[in-house]
Symmetry: C2
């Protein structure tokens, strides 16, 4: 095991198939919706209150990429910053199911679906997750299936 992947709290072995955990929660502000979308997704229903009211969404909604980024931050704070992460090859699906509106409180949950050792890089494991982002009314606003790559725990590494 490389010294690059020593000293973390979570390794590949720590993601158990079937586990479902709550990652975190966040109130979404009008200011943050407009700030993100002004830079990355300036469609009228993401940046302009009046245009949004007159749109098919009936009011301001967050960019789907913003919701994804907020979920990513909850992943970081809950486990990734303490994990021997080796990045992610991507997602098998990303669904924007309901609008996210100003003052919504969103909570992200993670379920571990599958786990295996990499064939080409046996020092690494691949974990498939399902993430759900839920609002204060228990509606799933976004869901994703995707992968995380993690170093395996060395035999000398404490658990």
């Amino acid at each position: 095991m490389s010294t690059l992947t020593r000293g973390f709290k979570y390794y590949w072995e720590d993601f158990k198939v079937g586990d479902r955990i709550r990652l975190g929660s966040k109130r979404v502000t009008r200011e943050e919706i407009i700030e993100f979308a002004t830079r990355y997704d300036p469609q009228p229903f993401h940046v302009d209150e009046t245009a949004a009211k007159n749109s098919i969404f009936g009011g301001l909604i967050a960019s789907g990429w913003h919701t994804g980024a907020m979920a990513m931050r909850m992943m970081c704070d809950a486990y990734l910053l303490e994990a021997a992460s080796m990045g992610s090859p991507g997602l098998d699906s990303l669904k924007w199911l309901k609008p996210v509106r100003p003052d919504d409180r969103i909570t992200t949950y993670r379920t571990t679906l599958e786990s295996r050792v990499s064939r080409s890089r046996p020092e690494m494991g691949i974990v498939k997750f399902y993430w759900e982002v839920v609002n204060q009314n228990d509606e799933v606003v976004m869901s994703m299936e995707g992968y995380g790559l993690f170093a395996r725990r060395a035999s000398g590494e404490s658990s």
Copy 2:
């Protein structure tokens, strides 16, 4: 057709299966990589030059969500802001294939894969796209397959 969906340049009919177009291009700066990641994805290899050098990536790389957001901005500027867009239900796949590094120039291409009228909402059409984000070395750094919803052109709407 609702007045909400009048007066746009692009309607469902304007996305032709097989078309491949270049949406735009952008230089990625170190400052923007760090700024985005500090807020949404503060893993060391996204926010800390020294930690990134010592990571498996060998240097600072952009958050995958940042690359997605930059591609989204290119979609907006190329067509979405002039389209009768009704949002997106999501993506069937999102692949982070290569790192995006400071001073990379990324270009996004869009191919129209499939197109049909909605069964439940016949005033709306569903288009399936394939997007590729390519760097200055012609390497595909990110690809996505996903959907856009667009109002259909009314019979009285000019084309």
